[in-house]
Amino acid sequence: MALFIQQLINGISLGAIYGLVAIGYTMVYGIIGMINFAHGDIYMIGAFIALIGFLLMGAFGITWIPLALALVLLIAVVFTAVYGWTVERIAYRPLRNSTRLAPLISAIGMSIMLENYVQLIQGARTKPQSNLIAGGFALMEQGGFVVQVRYLQIVIVVLTTLIMAGFTLLITRTPLGRAQRATEQDKKMASLLGVNVDRTISLTFVLGAGLAAIAGMMVLLYYGQIDFYIGFVAGIKAFTAAVLGGIGSLPGAMLGGLLIGMIEVMWSGYFSVDYKDVAAFAILVMVLIFRPTGLLGRPDLEKV
């Protein structure tokens, strides 16, 4: 039981990170119907910008940790969002009206490019990052097994919850969110009604990249090290999470992220670390077979 609770706590914190990345996938898929393959690498870039941000904080002598964290978060979100915007502008917007496969290939090319770009400019070696939110407390003890909760895990869960709440408000209550939902439903109609479709799509990428940057910063602190390759695996898992939750649905993405994180951690805890990725995919296949639209997705109407 103690082991289960420990894994549950770990799974929730990991799942929160996946969920934040998955939102970027699900929003982009919802609005332009493409798999943004470069999103995992945007997340990786977010982590690297956060790393450099922490270095800068050290260089400028900002040692009060809450301030440093807030500043780095801001830097990471802003700079990564520009990356998200640029990727859309360069690689996807020119292909908006072409075949379905063209933007996908362009996205895969972008992903390869970003990965190698970061490898070249920051080096291939793993970068360490000391944990700024160290420590934790013992939640319970059972048969000599102590269930530990790290303060960082609390920060991750609280931050993710806050961001999700704010984000839900943004999508459901503001003009921006309204434009976003309108574009998602019908681009042509939205543009006729005065929504700037191009800008809305750009904004979707910017928001997705911002959330990915937050996830990147969290993962940097959580694992204490990053390299240029983390984007690929996290990207696949986050996309799996988005599909699992029902692509196009925001709560679905978060739910899918939590589930994928949980499955991964539980599988590693009870079965074998080696096959944790296989487990996540196997569950995805199962879900798709029995519920092809994902857990919270709406079924597509088939037009004849």
Partner: protein, 500 residues
């Protein structure tokens, strides 16, 4: 359609809004500055004591200013003022030439080159070069005809040319491919690269059946390649089967994996299918890595026997009682014989794949694939069983991947999970899509560009994959439908009205 083309054509009589263009150019420069300021400007150097900061701000500023200028010039060019682009591009090239000359002479001025890596400097010089060439072309056509063909018109011209000379081009390419090893400039390195390219052509043709004809997006094609390679590797090392006996088994094995995967997932919609196939590809790789007592784990399988020429091995000294290829034909032994043989082998495989595809497109099943790609609901209404039809496409595509895989294992003599990463699937899919979905010669062109070119630019080293990614994006933007884009159904009901 005509209206769209006309609106895309540049109207040269319009006045140019310099302020607007300048504003956008400054914007582009600023975005570059923001993009580069942290990631390029500050390098986190790993040392024994943690991370240290190393700044590279000259590169950042040079890049930002360069982007702003190039953007300004190219926008002017697209607005019908190509002269500044040519002049500005030439000035930049001259500046680069002077700096590069100084660098090569070891003069202090040479340190003023914008980037630390010479490759990046040379690559950056390509940008003004292309500006000059494009500008000069526009000036030339403006003088000559007064009109410039738009991109889509050019594309159409290309595709029409290809359609007209399809047979001839194909025959010429095949003749060239067969004659390649006997050309005076042929050497071992060239044939090795050609073998690699033809392997990817075969994979591309195999995937073309799945993606191009049946319209199923498969992001895990490399899994079937891996199954084929490992099947042959195990049959060869554990059972001792020869290549020619193992080949059909490997093909069948891959095809059955295709069926195995296909049964549950083929009723999924396009993008769900993509992610499940991607997951399947990764699963196969993870299993190959971790199931060490069966697959050899990360180390893979060594000492896979090489294919023989009707039982004649390509070795210097044959085992007793076995005649080698060289002895049988009374030739002197040369390691090139095996290289050439492997090249012809994969060429034959690839041509079989091609021939098979061309023929099956005319059969009911091939037509059903293309019909399914165009409209699944209509097909179902007409009594085509979508699942079985898709399954055959999936299995046949997988079978060719499996055969290519066993060739790969036989050629390398060893296999490991590292060869079957997602990147390979992406590359094969890129070859199919960049070549133009459903076209056979397009795959050849794309494979030559994507696989052949980087092999000859090995000195780019680390920058190879970066250039590969940039190339993929650029080709897609330049020709969204692929290098040879045309996607006609094989049959027309009414020739005149078929193109809508």
């Amino acid at each position: 359609m005509q209206a769209v083309l006309a609106s895309k054509a540049v109207n040269y009589s319009d006045a140019v809004d310099y302020r607007y263009i300048a504003k956008r150019a400054i914007g582009a420069g600023l975005v570059t500055l923001v993009l580069a300021s942290l990631l390029v400007g500050i390098e986190a150097v790993s040392t024994n004591f943690g991370l240290e900061i190393n700044t590279r701000y000259r590169a950042v500023f040079c890049a930002s200013i360069g982007v702003a200028i190039v953007y300004f010039l190219s926008q002017l060019m697209h607005a019908g003022r190509p002269t500044p682009a040519v002049v500005g591009g030439l000035l930049m090239l001259v500046a680069f030439a002077i700096l590069e000359w100084a660098y090569l002479q070891g003069l202090p001025l040479g340190d003023q080159l914008p980037f630390a890596a010479q490759v990046v400097n040379w690559a950056a010089a390509l940008v003004p070069l292309s500006l000059v060439l494009r500008g000069a072309y526009i000036i030339y056509t403006q003088k000559a005809k007064g009109i410039v063909r738009t991109a889509s018109q050019r594309e159409a011209g290309f595709a029409v040319f290809y359609l007209k000379h399809n047979k001839l081009l194909g025959t010429l390419l095949i003749v060239f491919a067969i004659a390649l090893p006997f050309m005076p400039f042929a050497n071992r390195r060239l044939i090795d690269v050609a073998t690699l390219v033809v392997t990817y052509i075969m994979l591309g043709w195999g995937l073309n059946i799945v993606v191009g004809l049946a319209g199923l997006l498969d992001l895990g094609y490399v899994a079937f390649y891996a199954v084929g390679a490992y099947t042959y590797a195990m049959l060869s090392t554990d059972v001792g089967l020869s290549f020619w006996f193992a080949l059909p088994i490997a093909g069948a094995m891959s095809a059955s994996f295709g069926l195995l995967l296909g049964f549950p997932v083929l009723r999924l919609r396009g993008d769900y299918l993509a992610i499940v196939t991607l997951g399947f590809g990764e699963m196969i790789r993870v299993i190959l890595t971790n199931w060490w007592w069966f697959t050899g784990g990360p180390n893979g399988i060594n000492n896979i026997s090489r294919p023989s020429f009707f039982g004649l091995p390509f070795e210097r000294d044959a085992r007793p009682g076995v005649e080698t290829f060289a002895q049988f034909f009374g030739l002197d032994y040369s390691p090139n014989q095996r290289v050439f043989f492997l090249y012809f082998l994969i060429l034959a495989f690839a041509l079989v794949t091609n021939f098979f595809t061309l023929r099956i497109r005319r059969l009911p099943i091939g037509r059903a694939w293309e019909a399914l790609r165009e409209d699944e609901t209509a097909c179902r209404a007409l009594g085509i069983n979508p699942r079985n039809t898709k399954l055959t496409a999936f299995a046949i595509g997988a079978m060719f991947a499996g055969m290519a895989g066993s060739f790969f294992a036989a050629r390398q003599g060893f296999v490991s999970p590292e060869s079957f990463v997602f990147l390979e699937s992406a590359v094969i899919l890129a070859i199919v899509v960049l070549g133009g979905l459903g076209t056979q010669i397009g795959v050849v062109l794309a494979a030559a560009v994507l696989i052949g070119m980087p092999e000859f630019f090995r000195q780019l080293q680390d920058y190879r994959m970066l250039a590969f990614g940039i190339g993929m994006v650029l080709i897609m933007i330049w020709r969204p439908g692929g290098i040879l884009s045309h996607r006609d159904p094989t049959i027309f009901l009414n020739r005149g009205r078929a193109k809508t």
